[in-house]
């Protein structure tokens, strides 16, 4: 029982973070049919904002809010710099510009800050452990679960209940028709990037909370996780992204618990083998997502 509870908390904490990462990627993909390869750098921007704000003496929550805000701004900037100028031209062009923007941000961090890890402030509670029902777990895990629940609820309310959310879902299936109803294309796309930035910002706080430091390449792993989770779950489906995130976390955690010590460093190889098996079984991902839609 205790073991089961421990396992469950680990899966939910990791899965919550993975699910938020995947949602941030898929919200843009669903509308533009383009992967934003600069997504990981939104996490980096939030991380360095924390580092730069650390001397300010502000309460942690205020700094975190500023960092999330900066991630949102970086998301919107991605749209203006990497997507909007070439969006109508070709998929290849956007692929290249989003990679370029990612490299640009990383190199800016290398050049102006440092290639070495920089400490970010952490609230006391992130390093505490909590004991209940015989389980000992870092408080960070419970915070991650709570944050994931709040963010998923907020996201689901936004996408289901608000006119903007409904318009975004409509645009994801048929962008031209949505525009012919008067939904402005640029508003929808910028909103998608802003939501993507919000999710990345929150994930950054949780992700950086595990190590308490930020490096220029910090965004690579979250980008990869988000990408794999959305591929498993179905690139076109929001629910699929969440499901894929939790499933990936379930696989990772199970392997952590079951693999012998000497094989543990090859965990990713096992994870990816499972991912390949899932894709052989369901090439479209687990949830197929809305019917056809065209790229803008």
């Amino acid at each position: 029982m205790t073991f089961f509870l421990q396992f469950l908390i680990d899966v939910l904490a990791l899965g919550g973070a993975y699910a938020l990462m995947a949602l941030g990627l898929v919200i843009v993909y669903g509308i533009l049919r383009l992967v934003n390869f600069a997504y990981g750098e939104l996490i980096m921007v939030a991380g360095y904002t924390m580092y730069l704000a650390s001397g300010s003496g502000l309460p942690w929550l205020v700094m975190a809010a500023v960092a999330v805000f900066m991630a949102i701004m970086a998301g919107i900037t991605t749209d203006y710099v990497a997507f909007r100028p070439v969006r109508a031209k070709s998929v290849t062009a956007v692929l290249i510009t989003s990679f370029a923007f990612s490299t640009l941000l990383q190199n800016a961090a290398l050049l102006f800050i440092s290639p070495r890890p920089r400490n970010t402030p952490l609230p006391e509670v992130f390093s505490q452990t909590i004991q209940f029902a015989g389980v000992i777990t870092p408080a960070r895990n419970l915070i991650t679960i709570a944050a994931a629940i709040v963010m998923l609820a907020l996201f689901s309310w936004l996408i289901r209940r608000t006119v903007l959310g409904i318009a975004m879902r409509a645009a994801a299936t048929n962008f031209t028709m949505a525009r012919m109803l008067g939904v402005p294309a640029n508003l929808i796309i910028s909103s998608a990037f802003a939501i993507s930035g919000l999710l990345a910002g929150v994930v950054a706080m949780l992700w950086i909370g595990r190590i308490g430091a930020v490096v220029p390449g910090i965004g690579l792993e979250p980008l990869l996780i988000a990408f794999i989770a959305t591929v498993i779950g179905g690139m076109r489906s929001l629910q699929g992204a969440v499901l894929g995130g939790f499933l990936l976390a379930f696989m990772d955690t199970t392997l952590n618990f079951t693999l012998p010590q000497e094989l543990l460093k090859f965990r990713d190889a096992f994870t990816f083998s499972l991912v390949i098996l899932i894709l052989l079984w369901r090439p479209q991902g687990l949830i197929k997502g809305p019917a056809t839609g065209q790229r803008t």
Partner: protein, 235 residues
């Protein structure tokens, strides 16, 4: 109200619309007839802003709106019902209607009234308001798309092949609705392959062939003067 002159629309090197000029007066129902591939839909989608014009001029109330963005056209009072009957399949019927009123979403009371009116007009949509639009039948989807277009309180309605692929009884109902909308004073551009049906409701008609306007006149003139059958077969 709507004037099109010398319009050309091209898909790459292929010119679908070569030279189209037409006029629609306020309150008129104008039918645009012709065989498959005559360029009717391309003309209509170009007016809607969904396709860019290669040449020519489109004017709405004297204002140049050539190659305007689709969202701009919607705000100027142009509502479009495309041939592909584009409901948003995973949104509910209610959400589809709500989006129809996107440009006047601040007028919550008016939108609610219009929605009630649509549900009166199409009781089947009221029954299925919480159902995903993709689960409706073809005829129901066509009604939903027309209702959704009306929700914006348009000044001009662009209707592309509303009868396409529907059972004859449903087609009759759709045409009844079109004449109801016309009587309410709405200006309508109706693209149809079913010429005889379209001419029963139209005031004026244009006949297109291979991207050009071949004939124009009042609905009775067109019905009398043109050998409709030869027009289609000769295309």
């Amino acid at each position: 109200m709507l004037e099109i002159s010398g319009l050309q629309v091209a898909y790459g090197a292929v010119r679908a619309v070569r030279d189209v000029s037409l006029n629609i007066a306020e309150g008129d129902l104008v039918a645009l007839l012709g065989a498959n591939g005559a360029g009717k839909s391309s003309t209509l989608m170009c007016v809607a802003g969904a396709l860019p014009a290669a040449a020519g001029l489109i004017r709405l109330d004297g204002q140049d709106v050539t190659s305007a963005r689709p969202e701009t056209m919607a705000r100027k009072g142009v509502a479009t019902v495309p041939e592909t009957r584009d409901v948003f399949p995973d949104l509910t019927v209610g959400e589809n209607l709500l989006l129809g009123a996107y440009i006047r979403r601040s007028d919550t009371q008016g939108v609610a009234e219009d929605r009630a009116k649509m549900f009166d007009m199409f009781p089947v949509l009221a029954e299925r308001r919480a159902q995903a639009a993709g689960t409706l039948s073809g005829g129901e989807q066509q009604m939903l798309v027309i209702a959704r277009a009306i929700m914006s309180r348009p000044r001009i309605l662009l209707l592309d092949e509303p009868s396409l692929g529907l059972a004859p009884t449903i087609v009759d109902r759709i045409f009844e609705m079109i004449s109801v909308l016309k009587r309410s004073g709405l200006t309508i551009l109706l693209v149809e392959q079913n010429a005889s049906k379209a001419l029963t409701v139209a005031d004026r008609a244009y006949v297109m062939r291979l991207g050009r306007v071949e004939a124009e006149g009042t609905a009775t003139e067109i019905a009398a003067a043109t050998d409709l059958r030869s027009l289609y077969l000769a295309g």
